[in-house]
């Protein structure tokens, strides 16, 4: 093997040769640098390849490191360098980042990257490479200085005043750190008599207060270089002022090098020093995350993210040493540091790109951003996901629950500000990027031919005036258009740099997933994403992709459904068959739908995988993947960025709550999906609450629901059905899974009772909120929330009738909510509005859609003879059986309110007055009608023969809860009452057909249809359809009656929480005055506090 010393030597030689190369031309110098960086990347890569070929991936940690003794002497006499597999991986990654960074630099500004910039660039990487390899304390100082000095210069190199200033502050901080380090090294040399790290580790003499102080100085110096809170203002200023290309290198490469040195010295530190470092790291982690929340400069925000990530690394090496086996810790740290290096570099570059162009319409760059962000936060399948999983798991097992919680909260905050940035990058111009409040536009009179018989002079005058009114273009819109229509900048090599990083992360993530997941089914969502991405790359037509996707969902269902049993099988039908039917509506789309198929299919597979998983890791993997893919689907909507962001934050919060629950539970796989009577574990209370909270968030239960309306409503119209009728049930399935835990009382509290009341509140809340919406999709979204409330309530009963009722509702809700959402998608497609009062009289134009909606609302409201009544009957009977009387009454109230908004929905859209602009619209497209017809058929069959659905459900829950339902022919009998769906259907048909026949016989001859405005008006006449259509604020008296009861308490609470976090961050940010002297003082105060903490307080002699 070629000696690793050449990595340094080549770079050094090239740095000297650069001026010569410059003589040959700028390009020659740039090429030389790229070649050198390639060699620096490839050389350590060859070691890895060789080790891998010798020992395989499992044997890699055991392979012998390469040790180089410089100058021909052995270690104490000379400086030793060592390259084991950890160092080799770091070298490859750092140098690759340097290489790609070079390419980025070239693409960004070809002319600027020359001369001393090139030399400094190489010097920086010599320093970092050296920091990674060296085993000598003083040599670390040397490389640290090389790194720092080149960094100062690079920061200042963009020539701006702020950059000079930031560079100078960096020098101040760096000098203090160097001084401390040097003093520490001198003392250590005095105590141990050597500078070689390996020798020093071998000596026993490093105990006592003297060596401790020396080590303290050493650790403080390195910690300061790693930017701890609050002594990191200088670094943040530097990130903000420097060119993003330089920022990327400081954040990614330099920090990695210094961290590598820190991790190497770590074994010297006694336990108290390690704890100190770990504590400082945790504080930094949390505060950096908090401060990021209100940060509005991208580069500074990324800098805060860097300090947080590095702090996490410092914590990992200093605290986890005793918690995890050394080799495992090594891999975890390597995954964390590698991902941070790659993704942070990529993100800094992206920040640079977005300074120049808008990326909102560039799918490749947006995808790259998403991948980098997801990797940084630790979403599956990226390496950090695995690292964090094992880290949190180990922490919990050693009793460090609080620390695990702090790490998860910090991660959530970090996701908060990073995705806020993504929101701004990705949102469309017409999207306000904030939570959408219903805007009631001032109604303009429609212009065009009037077919309602208008003769009023005034009305005609109004119309003429309007026709001649010129539209004044909004200045803002004009600006937006200018941005949007700006000539797309031609392909730029700087744009490929982040892409390379993203590809690398995806590759590593996929490999990690393959290694970690035993069940190949779990990889399917990832495969779907990759294949879908490739399809888009090769421009396979959308409808071909869709057909393949539906087919693959079909095959997957065919493989999975028969294997599953019980409740999981019922949910498999809902998730998979339901999704396959609803995907038909997507055929209506045409043209290029980048990413849609990949995301949809991946989401469906990960949803299905929830049903087949057994272990907690698999479950959490699928759960997070599902949540994140759903986020990506939601933000495809036109104005959905803020709603999607809310959804993501709640989903992540829920996922972390679930994660904590999972790791607190001793044997998850023995609990999941077992009968309620089978588990009698003690001390699982907190775990149960955390798990339940996570699943309730997904359901959108009252209190956690504020993400729900926006997410369902603002997503694309043909995606909403899927979200609201299928995805919403994932949480319910998981609750069924942990039923065994939920029946155990926690601290004397019956969780099922609590769940039941949450269900009641959800049902009531959903219904009331739906009542007052003017936007049809918000109405339906809240309606879904209400329906989930019933399911939750019925589930919480833990009785056979309750569970069958809950599942029955889940199945029928899929049918009717899917139908109605797709029907509404068709209507919005035709009318181009979502506001109900702007529609009206559409029954004559879209009779099929009307019929679907009619059937659906009869079913939803529970009016016999359709399926909905079965759900209500089971729910109330089960509630009264169980003695939950008040809950039953509240549920009845909620269902009456549901009747209100459903009537309002069908009335304001289809009945009343047809508007002039809708006189010639057509029925919804056929692709929308197909799923509707399937839904109608399903509802009709289940209404006629309720046993077709109830009996399978009874079998499904048979093993879990004791039974109390019996059958007598078509009559289902509970202990309280009975219901014969079949007879009800016949009686209803009878009493309906007889009057109809009578009417047709008696009246046919005399009745004739009249025109729209031919109505009885006392002493006036209808003016226009708009003024005659009673639709806006339909239930005004109700609003008045309820008054303050309707205040959005949950929204206020969460907003308050958000402001509190933001405020804390803002207060912390006030420490950073921008003054170099203050920053120096910060470092000194930090040192003093750390020293005091080390001593355990002030010692009074």
């Amino acid at each position: 093997m070629v000696s690793p010393i050449y990595v340094l030597a080549i770079a050094l030689a090239a740095a000297f040769l650069l001026p010569l190369a410059e003589k040959a031309g700028r390009r020659a110098a740039q090429a030389l640098i790229l070649i050198v960086l390639s060699v620096m990347t490839l050389l350590p890569a060859t070691y890895l390849v060789q080790w891998l070929s010798e020992a395989g991936i499992a044997g890699l940690p055991g392979s012998l490191p390469i040790i180089i003794d410089t100058a021909g002497f052995a270690a104490p006499l000379s400086i030793a360098l060592r390259v084991g597999y950890v160092e080799a991986v770091l070298l490859v990654l750092v140098n690759l980042t340097a290489l790609v960074g070079g390419i980025y630099r070239l693409g960004r500004d070809k002319l600027a990257w020359r001369g001393k910039d090139l030399v400094l660039y190489l010097m920086l990487f010599i320093g970092v490479n050296g920091l990674i390899m060296t085993r000598d304390l003083f040599n670390i100082f040397v490389f640290l200085e090389i790194t720092s000095i080149s960094t100062y210069a690079l920061i200042a190199s963009n020539g701006r005043k702020t950059a000079f200033e930031a560079g100078f502050k960096y020098i101040i901080a760096g000098s203090i750190a160097s001084a401390l380090y040097l003093i520490g090294v001198i003392f250590l040399y005095r105590f141990s008599g050597t500078l070689s790290l390996d020798e020093m580790l071998a000596t026993e003499s490093l105990s006592g207060s003297g060596p401790l102080l020396a080590l303290f100085l050493l650790s403080i110096a390195l910690l300061v270089e790693l930017k701890p809170f609050p002594a990191n203002g200088w670094a943040l200023d530097a990130y903000q002022a420097a060119d993003p290309a330089v920022g990327a290198m400081i954040s990614a490469a330099a920090a990695t090098g210094i961290f590598a040195a820190f991790a190497r010295i770590m074994p010297l530190f006694p336990d108290n020093l390690r704890t100190l470092a770990a504590g400082s790291a945790l504080v930094t982690f949390i505060f950096s995350s908090l401060m990021g929340l209100r940060q509005n400069d991208v580069k500074r925000m990324l800098g805060l993210s860097s300090t947080a990530q590095i702090a996490l690394l410092v914590f990992a090496v200093s605290y986890m040493q005793g918690v995890l086996p050394a080799k495992q810790l090594q891999i975890i740290v390597l995954l964390l540091v590698g991902t941070h290096l790659i993704s942070k570099a990529g993100l800094f570059w992206l920040a640079g790109i977005t300074e120049q162009v808008s990326i909102r319409s560039r799918v490749a760059l947006l995808t790259t951003t998403v991948i980098l962000l997801a990797a940084l936060i630790g979403l599956p399948p990226f390496p950090t996901f695995w690292a964090k999983w094992y880290m949190v798991l180990a922490l919990a097992e050693s009793g460090g629950y609080l620390i695990a919680a702090v790490i998860l909260i910090g991660t959530l905050l970090e996701a908060g500000y990073l995705f806020k940035w993504f929101l701004l990058l990705s949102k469309r111009t017409e999207d306000p990027g904030d939570i959408h409040f219903e805007e009631i536009p001032e109604d303009l009179y429609p212009i065009g031919q009037q077919t309602g018989s208008i003769t009023s002079k005034r009305a005609l005058l109004d119309m003429t005036a309007l026709e001649h009114q010129e539209e004044i273009p909004d200045k803002q819109t004009k600006n937006n258009e200018a941005v949007f229509n700006a000539p797309a900048i031609a392909f730029n090599s700087s744009h490929t740099a982040p892409l390379v990083m993203a590809v690398l992360l995806v590759a590593v993530g996929l490999i990690a997933s393959v290694l970690q997941l035993s069940n190949p089914l779990l990889l399917l969502p990832l495969v779907a994403l990759v294949i879908g991405g490739l399809f888009d790359l090769f421009r396979i037509p959308f409808r071909v992709q869709l057909t393949l996707a539906i087919a693959s969902v079909g095959v997957y269902s065919y493989a999975v459904i028969p294997v599953l049993g019980g409740i999981a099988q019922i949910f498999a039908w809902i998730f998979l068959a339901g999704a396959a039917v609803q995907m038909v509506a997507l055929y209506q789309r045409s043209g290029n739908q980048k990413g849609l198929i990949a995301l949809t299919t991946g989401l469906i597979f990960s949803l299905g995988n929830l049903l087949v998983t057994s272990g907690r890791l698999e479950l959490f993997f699928s759960w997070e993947l599902m949540s994140f893919l759903a986020y990506l689907l939601i933000i495809r909507g036109k104005r959905s960025s803020a709603a999607g962001y809310r959804y993501l934050m709640f989903s992540l919060g829920g996922a972390y709550s679930i994660l904590m629950g999972l790791i607190l539970l001793p044997d998850f796989s023995q609990v999941f999906g077992t009968t309620p009577a089978a588990v009698s574990a003690s001390g699982v209370g907190v775990a149960t609450i955390l798990l339940a909270a996570g699943f309730l968030i997904k359901i959108g239960a009252a209190g956690f629901h504020i993400w729900l309306p926006g997410a369902y409503a603002e997503a694309d119209d043909d995606i909403s059905p899927f979200l609201s009728s299928i995805l919403s049930k994932a949480g319910l399935f998981m609750l069924f899974g942990i039923a065994a835990l939920l029946v155990l009382p926690v601290y004397g509290l019956e969780l099922t009772t609590v769940l039941g009341w949450i269900g009641v509140l959800t049902a009531l809340g959903g219904a009331f909120f739906a009542l007052f919406q003017e936007d049809i999709k918000y109405t339906l979204a809240y309606s879904s929330m209400g329906q989930m409330g019933y399911m939750l309530l019925a589930f919480a009963l833990m009785s056979q009738l309750g569970w069958v009722g809950s599942l029955y509702l889940a199945v029928t809700h899929l049918l009717f909510k899917g139908m109605i959402f797709i029907a509404i998608a068709g209507i919005i497609y035709r009318t181009k509005t979502r506001l109900m009062y702007q529609m009206g009289g559409l029954i004559s134009r879209m009779p099929l859609s009307f019929f679907t909606v009619l059937i659906a609302i009869i079913a939803i409201s529970g009016v016999p003879p359709l399926t909905g009544f079965g759900a209500k009957w089971m729910l109330y009977t089960a509630l009264i059986e169980e003695g939950w009387y008040l809950q039953a009454a509240a549920a009845m109230f909620a269902s009456a309110i549901a009747f209100l908004y459903l009537f309002r929905l069908i009335h304001t859209i289809f009945l009343g007055q047809l508007k002039d602009e809708h006189r010639s619209i057509r029925e919804a497209p056929v692709w929308y009608l197909i799923p509707q017809v399937i839904g109608i058929l399903g509802i009709m069959i289940f209404s006629m023969f309720p046993n077709l659905i109830i009996e399978p459900l009874q079998h499904a829950v048979a093993g879990y809860v004791p039974g109390d339902i019996t059958w007598q022919g078509y009559t289902v009998i509970s202990t309280l009452g009975y219901w014969n769906g079949n007879a009800v259907m016949y009686v209803t048909m009878g009493v309906f057909i007889v009057p109809l026949a009578w009417l047709l016989l008696v009246q046919r001859k005399y009745t004739r249809k009249v025109r729209q405005f031919n109505i009885v008006y006392a002493a006036e006449r209808p003016y226009r359809p708009e003024t005659t259509h009673y639709a806006f604020n339909f239930f005004a008296p109700y609003r008045e009656a309820l008054g303050g009861f309707l205040a959005p308490w949950a929204t206020r609470f969460w907003n308050g929480l958000r402001s509190a976090a933001g405020l804390t961050g803002s207060m912390a940010r006030r420490l950073y005055t921008g003054n170099g002297q203050t920053y120096a003082l910060h470092i000194l105060i930090y040192t003093a506090i750390m020293l005091l903490a080390l001593q355990g307080g002030v010692r009074i002699p």
């Binding site: 009264i880 009387y885 109230f893 009945l911 219901w979 009057p995 008696v1002 005399y1006 009745t1007």
Partner: protein, 303 residues
């Protein structure tokens, strides 16, 4: 086959009785109201005349399919509600189709007619119709709450949701009636009955002076005839239901007539004594004291 024919015959008898009783009751009560107001009033058979007149009109208009079907839905709702209730305790002829479902079915089938009528009225395009519907539905959700609480209280009292069983449990003397064994439930139920029968003070739905008769504004000819027929049957069904729930049911026609007459008379008395509520006032009213009474009735059953 004979069974079905017999059932059909019984159904016809049952319907014949309730229709005529309902119409005569309506006529009688109109006359009672007139007396209170110092008028002579209409003859008791006036409802028959109205229905005949409307049904045999030579002209009629409609506004579309849903308008056409609205009265059909309404009448079907009335008929269905009636047919799912056992009218006379222990009578085969008057047991109707009560084997199809229990009290919950009846409670929800009431919505069937309301929904259909509301849709029909909606298609007329007349703004007064949806205004009336909006008020009516809003008021309905409110009075449903005390009613639901009363029903739940009774169901828990007797451990059954079957109307037949509830009536059976009340046999054996006046003191066995729910009105005496569970007076709070009776009070809550009877207050919501006022709302259900839409007389004063809860007549905002049809508010004659403001939105001339509300939902049925556009209805005429045999559409209106059907609605009037339904009014008789539906009223009868509700009266029988409340009689069964709170006043021990009836085991012969005479007892039924006396009890239902008194129940109806009570709404007329209240209606003649109080002015009309606004929609929001009526909602607040039902969600206030009556709901509290209902909750008390339920809570008493818990302990």
């Amino acid at each position: 086959m004979t069974e079905i024919a017999l059932k059909a015959l019984y159904t016809l008898i049952s319907l014949f009785v309730i229709t005529n009783y309902g119409l005569l009751l309506g006529g009688t009560m109109a006359r009672v109201r007139a007396k209170v107001q110092g008028r002579i009033g209409q003859p008791v058979w006036q409802p028959y005349i109205d229905i005949m007149k409307n049904t045999f009109r030579r002209t009629g208009i409609h506004h579309g399919v849903m308008f056409y079907l609205g009265p059909v839905f309404r009448l079907a709702g009335g008929l269905g509600t009636y047919l799912f209730i056992p009218v006379l305790y222990g009578s085969v002829v008057f047991s109707n189709f009560s084997f199809s479902g229990d009290l919950l079915l009846v409670m929800y089938f009431i919505f069937f007619g309301q929904l259909g009528m509301a849709l029909g009225a909606g298609q007329s395009g007349h703004p007064y119709s949806p205004i009336g519907v909006s008020r009516g539905l809003a008021q309905m959700t409110a009075f449903e709450v005390p009613f639901a609480l009363a029903v739940i209280s009774i169901a828990s009292q007797y451990g059954s949701l079957s109307i037949t069983e509830i009536v059976a449990a009340q046999q054996g003397g006046v003191l066995q009636w729910v009105a005496f064994t569970n007076p709070l439930a009776m009070v809550a139920g009877m207050i919501s009955f006022l709302g259900m029968s839409m007389g004063n003070p809860f007549s905002i739905v049809i508010a004659p002076q403001e939105i001339p008769i509300g939902p049925p504004t556009e209805m005429q000819s045999s559409f209106l005839g059907m609605l009037q027929t339904n009014r008789a049957i539906f009223n009868g069904a509700k009266l029988v239901l409340f009689m069964n729930l709170f006043f021990g049911g009836a085991d012969n026609i005479l007892s039924m007539i006396v009890k239902t007459f008194l129940i109806y008379f009570y709404t007329v008395v209240v209606g003649a004594s109080f002015p009309r509520f606004r929609a929001d006032q009526s909602i607040r009213f039902f969600l206030g004291i009556p709901t509290l009474i209902g909750i008390a009735a339920v809570v008493l059953q818990m302990y």
